[in-house]
């Protein structure tokens, strides 16, 4: 079963989408291009601001790190030169966590594909100009070397490595966040599988 996407659930945002995959449900809202603060203004491109809100609380260093990764990925997807000196604001609210408590690196890496996909769909819904599409997916390597795509909770608890990979329509890799302890060969195999999948 693929991910579930709900288009334009929020009427007051320029673009919005509710995206849920095997693990997380993310509500993404996009506003832009809007007016930017003088200090964040860039002379030749649009500034991108990503806000990630966890299920409970306002978020701390972990959310700031996730924001920096998602901002970097989206900068290579959006046509930032079309709207210089403006701001594109993306808010990602995590509304559902997986039932099993994830820890450490698995927790970090597993939420990234959902965030990137939700943000991209919301940007498309808002009609913002983009130079490419992006698809992100989570892959896990189990102990016997098997690679699972669209990993579910069961896969995550029994894996030696988890990879969040994103590719655009030209097959270029836009994001690769991997964690765990894996060998070079396993990682190469994961990369090839991911390229074909996306």
């Amino acid at each position: 079963m693929g991910p579930e996407i709900n288009h334009h659930p929020l009427s007051r945002a320029d673009g919005s989408v509710s995206f849920s995959n095997n693990l997380y449900t993310i509500l993404a809202a996009v506003n832009g291009p809007v007016e930017v603060q003088r200090r964040d203004e860039l002379p030749e491109e649009a500034a991108i601001e990503v806000n990630i809100r966890p299920v409970a609380g306002v978020g701390g260093p972990r959310e700031r790190w996730l924001e920096s990764v998602v901002t970097a990925v989206l900068r290579s997807v959006l046509l930032v030169h079309m709207h210089p000196r403006t701001l594109i604001q993306i808010t990602l609210q995590i509304t559902k966590l997986p039932t099993q408590k994830l820890r450490g690196a698995w927790k970090d890496v597993s939420v990234l594909p959902a965030l990137v996909n939700a943000a991209f769909l919301a940007l498309a819904d808002g009609g913002l100009p983009m130079q490419s599409t992006v698809t992100a997916e989570l892959f896990t390597i189990s102990e016997d070397g098997e690679i699972h795509a669209s990993s579910a909770e069961g896969d995550l608890s029994a894996c030696t490595g988890a990879f969040a990979l994103a590719y655009n329509q030209h097959g270029e890799m836009l994001m690769n966040e991997s964690a765990g302890n894996f060998s070079l060969e396993a990682w190469e195999k994961a990369g090839d599988t991911a390229a074909k999948f996306c």
Binding site: W65, R75, E172, E177
Partner: protein, 333 residues
């Protein structure tokens, strides 16, 4: 006759001015030269060699000062005691043992960039996105690399046998307290690539850390520590992962043809290169001390689509080739 008018200003600038006015063409001109060289004189694959000094802070349990080119980072490790009786939901037996370090938060790294280390980081400001992201990356890496042994951080107490106990039941040990390590990383000079410098400083400081001998006093019901250095014990680190960051400079742009783009992967970017590059790659390889096979611990790549699997593999290989240097820098034989 006296000529009062000064000569017309020339139309050439010194290189520094050119770099300030048009940083991208400046870097591009250097890289497109037939022997690609960077403005700092290094080849694209050349890194700055770090120098590490440990044990300079006398009031910390462990410390290290790392200099990588013009980037300088000081790391101090301070150990504080967490009493088991203060933990709201105490761990139950072996079920949670693996994750105790993470659940109890026994390792607390904090990267401080607002020290005046660069014009963009003025002192007195709360940590910005970069400092918070760095702190989190280091925390995440400390947990995933499993380098600190939980046993080293436990203060145990052997409960004396009473008459009620069965005569042949062995002695029971309970954990009365834990050592919490507060790892403070201060950047005193920033010239690009703070992550590699901070990570090297954390590893060096943890290797230097010594914890005093501590025991539970049942009469006073507190933890006592011995001031004698001879009784202190070092941390036994199981893994010494090495981190390597690369920046990617590319001429590609949505306004130009894709095939015409040229790109270069620059190892260990300095401040100037970091400002101009958008794509970055960080590779962390594990380096086990107990003979386990070393593999890839973490790969982080975002910001663009230039680096593909093949280029990433080259980055991993380049990092692997520096294993010898890494050991020499940390003083591991």
């Amino acid at each position: 006759m006296a000529n009062g008018t000064p000569p017309a200003p020339g139309l050439t600038f010194p290189p520094e001015t050119f770099a300030k006015l048009t940083p991208r063409p400046f870097l591009q001109a250097h890289l497109q030269h037939k022997d690609s060289i960077r403005p700092n004189g290094r080849r694209p694959e050349e890194v700055r060699k770090p120098t590490v000094n440990t044990g300079s802070l006398s009031y910390s349990n462990g410390s290290a000062v790392v200099r990588v080119g013009d980037t300088a980072v000081v790391c101090g490790v301070r150990a504080e005691i967490l009493l088991a009786s203060d933990i709201p939901h105490p761990p139950n037996g072996d079920a949670d043992a693996e994750h105790l370090l993470e659940d109890l938060g026994l390792l607390v790294p904090n990267v401080e960039l607002s020290t005046g280390c660069s014009p963009t980081h003025l002192p007195g400001n709360p940590p910005g996105i970069l400092a918070q992201a760095l702190s989190y990356r280091i925390l995440s890496l400390l947990h995933v690399s499993d380098l600190v042994n939980l046993q080293d951080l436990q203060i145990e107490y052997t409960v004396p046998q009473t008459d009620d106990d069965l005569p042949d039941a062995g002695p029971k040990t309970v954990v009365k307290a834990y050592w919490t390590l507060y790892i403070d990383i201060l950047c005193i000079a920033m010239d690009g690539n703070p992550f590699d410098a901070a990570w090297t400083a954390v590893i060096a400081a943890l290797r230097d850390t010594s914890l005093p001998r501590a025991w539970w006093d049942p009469d006073r019901e507190i933890i006592l520590c011995s001031p004698l250095e001879a009784e202190a014990s070092r941390l036994r680190l199981r893994n010494l992962p090495m981190a390597s960051t690369f920046a990617v400079y590319s001429t590609s742009s949505p306004l130009k043809q894709r095939a015409h783009a040229e790109s270069w992967v620059l190892a260990d970017p300095d401040g100037f290169e970091e400002d101009v590059c958008h794509e970055s790659v960080t590779v962390v390889l594990s380096h086990h001390m107990d003979g386990k096979k070393s593999g890839i611990l973490r790969v982080e790549k975002h910001g663009g689509g230039i680096v593909d699997n093949v280029a990433l593999l080259r980055c991993v290989q380049a990092t692997r080739n520096r294993a010898g240097e890494w050991c020499a820098v940390l003083g591991i034989t």
